[in-house]
Symmetry: D2
Subunit: 379 residues, 4 copies
């Protein structure tokens, strides 16, 4: 390997493993980098699938477990794309081994786990980041820029939801390959840590800290067969979760996530209403930003559907020509590019582990409120 | 007046007075009626404006106050389109005088007032109805029909919001002509009784009773000049109000209303997600219903934008030809038509005063929860 | 009748008769008028239907034929809402009798008929207007205002289409009640005179004269049973019609109309692209105007969806409050209001018969070009 | 190089060169291939840019001209992504050298050039394909599948347009780096061969052969500075082009392309109306297909917005999970995958050079008709 290579050890070869592998493969084709990342090793729970994955992505080495990966000298960065229950131990071991650490979201299964992970990377002084990829949708980045420029003025309202429909069937098992998100032991929680966590991360980034929340959760299908035990077992995760929130800046918010919203595959939407302007975005048309500016002249004032494909839109000078849209996977490429730029410049790219802990504090408060049936502090 | 005339005495000549007068004028042009309503008298707080109103709508008589209107023998029905603080006394007096009573929403300023109004009309045995007009948007009526037919299956989620932006300026006064909705003494509450009440009425109709709620409210601009006193006074209304809810059928809900959502004039939206199908509707395109049916074949399954202008859509056989849309005012015409049909058939048209009381019980619970910071029962 | 009444004699009680009757009934409720129009007589081809129509709209007199109507002294204005083959004779007789004349579109079945009608009203010096109602959609009027203000700059492109799907079935007969639009003898032409005529009228108003056209037409179903003869007969109308055009201002255009576009009930769309800005409108969401202004700042530039419901939008100060939409029928109300204002002010409201003749010259050129298979002048 | 590598020699490193390089790099990550393509050499007009391009994409060899590339033994396939005036000579030389040949669209600058290219590849018996990439948008492929299954029934209408706005400024030069599309000598024609060619290729694929056309073209800005000569020179290309067409299946069509449609960056739209169903697609939201099926039940019939991200949509099993969209570049990846599968199976992937010649015959007919001002045969 040449000097300018950043050697990545990847844990996980499922859906998220693929998005990360693709990001490493593609980032150098479109961004100017001092060091090009190369996935040099992947670790195997299932040797056959690991082999197939390694072949597809040109990965030289397969190791039998994450411990072996962390122990290698020829790895600069450990990237954790495995189920939630593995994040804590791998991240801490990697930090202690002096590796940079990237971790899929949510950071831990709860804030307690996450706090230990934060401590580990900060003590080790290693570069770290959590894969809240939706910050790097160009439309969402543009939203942040508009807010930073003060275009919206005082913020009154924030609302976000993340709607899916893939668990409505009661025949769907919990647990096992591809279904660990239904197993509370592995996932930590249901949609709260999975989908709401995305909504919260973006919200904290766009609108600042959340003070307090009132939440509710529901498990619509309360027993499912467990793929690993083979038995019908109680379902421990929340199928749906919603909460009211008050932000530190005085704005009010509603948040909701569910896997029981028929007709929506991955409908993450967010809207923010300010004194002068409002913004709306949704993941099903991620290449558009809806923008309303009350300062526009009255008769022609309306919501603008901005097609985020021009060279002056965030990240879009790296891609094609105006009018030609990018997709979901590009958010990961942007995030790798920003991470690498952060390493180069010494200004870490967000969200760091510490940034991501803030999200876990909110999700913990939501789950606590759903039980206590009263408002809880989110800080 | 001929025998087949229903003589209406109208209280109020503001925005709502106009929508009602129009409904009485138009209903006979499009619906087949045994008795045609005619507004025969209007009562005057401002004599000049009442004169202008009467001229415009061909109303023969102007009386000086609602008491005179209720006392007349040549009036069959009292229609209350005046501010909220007048509803209680007029409705009870009209019922005691044996008149039919129609009342603008919300019924009373709170459930206590509303309960006395219900008692009065039921004791008097007079026909009664509350103007929750959005039930009669053809798309919303169709939504109800689809639900009744079982198309959606088990319901998981309901969400509604009503967003406006007309009170964002701190220069806007509270109270006086056209601004009584900001005066808590007149209105009873802010957006909770005004906008959320619409959302709740529709929700109860489409999705059944609400068991419990957790609410929050906010007054963003806490002092405004009062037009009547001329002084800067504390604002007593809620500018924004949101709540979580659990319905009796096990579904979860989020509700929100505000007058601080820049870019939205009257964006009432509702969505309902069932096991098999989902429905979405919004007031800014009231002539469309969005419908998703999971039973459609996979590759061509998608949200259907149904243009509600065909002869087999509710009420639409009365209007033009397919493709040609109707507007806001038609909902009132439909409601008068249904009220008259109810009088003819003996099956009262909904929502009666008793139906509308259910909404007030929910709004009261939301306001109580916003203070208690815990869940409250809504029954 | 009082002095301030304008007495209307209405010919036709079908779909168009209803829209006109409604316009006369409603205009005074919303617009300030010196003279209020009242339909005082209607003429009967079918006595029973005329009676029902007169009852519904409060029309005092039924006369047996249009000749009797024109001959009456108590009629100020003849309004022609009967099939196309009657327009010519009635309009000329009415003009000669000194009546004001309003005529449904198209003016004549061809430009030759129309020219005689223009001559008649101009010779008689009577007020006249043709019911090209879509000019009075508030969004379309706003489009005209924006063009007049120079917002668009030099115009490059105009495109319009009017798509319906109601004649796809080969079982549909031609001719008879409600089906005369398929009978070429009555209608004059098919979609060219019916739907394209609307597109052309608006285009001439928004974009100035058309110099030349290249057209094509098609009759997809070439034989249909005729309801009156009872026989299967050749179809004489054009089912679909499209043409290329060059405007006097140098812009290029495409126009298309059909009754064979599955999924579209009355989708009239128009778009105009200028150097600085573009406009799009469609009849299925008639209360919106899409507006793109290239002078907006780059990163937030996008098509604006303007909800045409504010008080500063054309005609909308007469209706409800911001956010609440009007519908199809209101365009006729606006047109009556403008006609009456024109009579009062002495500046005739457009389109006059002469204005409407320009449209017929274009439709004639389109039909000629479809036969000659070459470009034809449209002037 | 291993045995299972397909060695590509790439001509061109501009916008199209990047899309092709990306396709070769990515195809093996997502598709199962017998032979993985590797770009082994690129040829240089500008040595510095070629070096940068080669570094970015990991290309080993840079050769000084296309002749050197064609002459190499270690190249299996020549891919032509250079300006239009180079296609003819390179393709013929490559075919004669026994290489597979891929060529950017349009094939030649006119049908005469294209015919010679077809003859060359067919005589040489080498695999060949033209990069009409929009056939491989999953939504467009799905449209083709639906048509093939007979879902639409008899076809009545086809309409397509491709709207851009990037040449409106008169300050834009013609010719030179990135601007050769304005130089008629290089490009052959303006939007007709550039944008309309895309529309025509898709149309021929979806709707069969075109019989005859009536076209018009315009050059709005008739003189521009030429970057290479430095002089103000007449503009030879067509800025806008539109035509009427009749297909062999009896359907009618309108086509239009322009670079003067303010507000549209790359708005390629197509619609097809059949007896039973209709389809609409646009490139600005390429991940959606609009589908209307008249056989749906009446009250809930509407245009379905199908989010083409499910595993049973064309190509989408190769990508992410439902709800997560892909973008523009993926169409090229799909096309490489199909080309390689065609080579493996012996059934060539379309469009071959011969298929693409059919498009050039139509564009030639359009340009001829624009001059002759009459209909021209397109076969």
């Amino acid at each position: 390997m040449s000097d300018n290579t950043l050697r990545v050890g990847l844990v996980g070869y499922g859906f998220m493993g693929r998005t990360h592998a693709n990001a490493y493969a593609q980032v150098g084709h479109f961004f100017d980098l001092e060091r090009r990342p190369v996935v040099t090793a992947v670790c195997a729970r299932n040797a056959e699938r690991a082999r197939e994955f390694a072949d597809r992505w040109g990965i030289e080495t397969i190791v039998p477990d994450w411990q072996s990966l962390v122990a290698r000298d020829d790895i600069d960065l450990i990237d954790i794309a495995s189920p939630n229950d593995t994040h804590h131990d791998i991240a801490i071991a990697a930090a202690e081994a002096g590796k940079m650490v990237l971790c899929e979201k949510p950071l831990g299964r709860n804030a307690a786990e996450s706090r230990e992970m934060v401590d580990a990377v900060e003590k080790a002084g290693v570069a770290n980041m959590v894969w809240y990829n939706y910050r790097r949708v160009p439309a969402v980045t543009l939203a942040r820029n508009l807010i930073d420029e003060g275009r919206l003025g005082r913020i009154f309202h924030y609302r976000a939801k993340f709607l899916q429909d893939w668990t409505i069937s009661s025949d769907l098992p919990q647990g096992g390959e591809g279904l660990w998100r239904l197993d509370v032991g592995v996932a930590g929680s249901g949609v709260t840590g999975d989908l709401l966590a995305h909504c919260i991360d973006t919200a904290l980034w766009l609108n600042g800290p959340i003070d307090s929340v009132s939440g509710m959760t529901e498990t619509f299908i309360r027993e499912r067969q467990h793929n690993i035990t083979g038995k019908v077992e109680p379902v421990g995760i929340d199928d749906a979760s919603a909460f009211l929130a008050r932000f530190g800046n005085g704005s009010l918010a509603t948040f909701e996530a569910t896997r029981y919203a028929r007709g929506h595959k991955a409908l993450y939407t967010l809207e923010i209403n300010g004194e002068h302007a409002s913004i709306f975005w949704d993941l099903h048309d991620l290449h558009r930003l809806q923008y309303f500016d009350h300062r526009d002249e009255g008769t022609t004032r309306g919501w603008r559907s901005v097609h985020i494909t021009d060279g002056d839109h965030p990240y879009m000078d790296k891609w094609w020509v105006p009018g030609l849209q990018i997709g979901y996977e590009h958010t990961f490429i942007h995030q790798v590019a920003d991470f690498l730029a952060g390493v180069e410049s010494g200004t870490p790219a967000a969200p760091t582990f510490r940034d991501a802990l803030a999200t876990d504090l909110v999700t913990d408060a939501v789950l606590k409120s759903a039980t206590s049936r009263q408002w809880e502090n989110a800080g």
